[in-house]
């Protein structure tokens, strides 16, 4: 595994409660965030602390390798490690970018109406990217088509035109912490809503909407 000092992670609301993670735990939490992001239909909370810490780790490992003896077997193994971690990180960030571009009006609307103190789904850089993307697309549509159209049709409501993320899609999950009394909506008219308990370690196929908050809190892991 990577050599390096223990990594400190700040709590998301900026308080100085520091969580000390070993590099192994950091990579594990990156992988969990990556899998969750891949399988969730909507954009999840931004884990920019993990991203920053992983980037630091990668830089650290690269500088270690530069100093190492050339031709040493450990060098190639560590290099593979760096590549794998870099792939997971890139894939995670790419997945987020794809979702931002796909649902940009809804995400920006949610960000606008976010209450103070609630964690954001976008990092500051992602927010800037999303705003630029929206402005770019709107300007393009306006200049090419909309301004040549009759006056009462020139405003286009992107919130209605761009499809929303499908929160009713089904996802596979594994339970990390035992949950009780999850209310499940009925699928057919004969069923009624019922309550289930999620045992630790069990795996389920369920609508994303039902367990969305649990994904955010880390109680379940999407697979």
């Amino acid at each position: 595994m990577a050599e390096g000092p223990e990594v400190r992670e700040l709590d998301s609301d900026g308080s100085s409660e520091e969580l000390v993670l070993t590099p192994a735990q950091l990579i594990r939490s990156l992988e969990q965030a990556w899998l969750n992001e891949k399988f969730a239909p909507e954009l999840l909370e931004s884990k920019s602390e993990i991203v920053e810490c992983v980037m630091e780790q990668l830089d650290h490992m690269e500088s270690n390798l530069k100093r190492a003896k050339h031709g040493d077997l450990k060098v190639s193994i560590h290099r593979m490690e760096i590549e794998r971690i870099r792939y997971v990180l890139s894939s995670y960030l790419r997945c987020r970018l794809v979702k931002i571009e796909k649902f940009f009006p809804h995400i920006l609307e949610k960000e606008k109406s976010r209450a103070e103190g609630e964690p954001s789904v976008l990092s500051p850089e992602e927010f800037a990217f999303a705003k630029e993307y929206m402005a770019n697309t709107e300007t393009y549509l306006k200049n090419v088509a909309l301004k040549h159209m009759p006056p009462n049709l020139q405003k286009v409501d992107l919130l209605r035109l761009v499809p929303k993320p499908n929160l009713d899609s089904f996802v596979f999950l594994r339970v990390q912490e035992r949950q009780e009394n999850i209310l499940v909506e009925p699928e057919t008219d004969e069923q009624r809503e019922y309550v289930i308990d999620l045992e630790e370690g069990s795996q389920h196929l369920i609508r994303y909407k039902t367990i969305a908050p649990l994904v955010g809190s880390g109680a379940v892991q999407l697979i």
Binding site: S90, E125, Y133, T137, L141, V144, A145, V156
Partner: protein, 304 residues
Amino acid sequence: QDRQAWAALQREPLHCTARFRAGCGRSDATSRPSAPRRAGPGLMGRGVSVLEREVCPSPAPVREGAWPRSAAAPIGGAGRRRALGTRARFPARSALLAVPVPPPPPRVPMFGERAAELVRGLHRAADGHLPAFNEDGIRQVLEEMKALYEQNQADVNEAKSGRSDLIRTIKFRHCALLRNRRCVVAYLYDRLLRIRALRWEYGSVLPSDLRFHMSADETEWFNQYKKSLATYMRSLGGEEGLDLTQDMKPPKSLYIEVRCLKDHGEFEIEDGTTILLKKNSQHFLPRWKCEQLIRQGVLEHVLS
């Protein structure tokens, strides 16, 4: 079509002209040769167009008295009457092959039809490929929208002064306007998504044939998108940030075997050695160095 008509003509035995000669000036059946008499009273004197011959090719559907011997020679026979225009419409056999069928008058498209054709044309382009920008199509749809809107405005003024039966027409035109706008916006937005995919596949510099398919506004959008993306990637930490367009696939091995597809000159790898990339040379190189060149088409991954 002409060939079929000619073949049908060939099938007709000489009795046709014989009948004609025989029938000239006389109306009794006895002087006819073997061919049976077939004349409908309604068709008497009317010609048979080439198209009708197609429809009922066998037996030879020549009506009695309908076939002129030649366009030039006037047909005698005081007893036969035929429509005045026939000679012009039914020229001599040899001239038949040169007759073009007049094209039907151009059909006025329905509202929204041009817009649907715009979208369909884009949908037909396979697999995310970007076809040329259909500037004419967009212009026609915008013109149609302008015409519809002006008609609606006129009708709204009339409806205000009492004519309430126009309201349905106004609503119909408004629906057509909304549909046209939806198709145009869908067309433009789908092209933007394809162009966005090009950035991730080809990198910052697009191949020139793709660049010609983009309009000036699309190129502007692409440049802005590139800039936004670059700013975001640079901000990701470290000095240069993280290039997200690399590492698109999970790494399987550290070094890969590559073959050079075109001359690229010298190429330096980490430990300082330079490699000369000549066409068709094969090298064993670190994977992360080659990824960019593989995507540009300079190197080719050899899977053996």
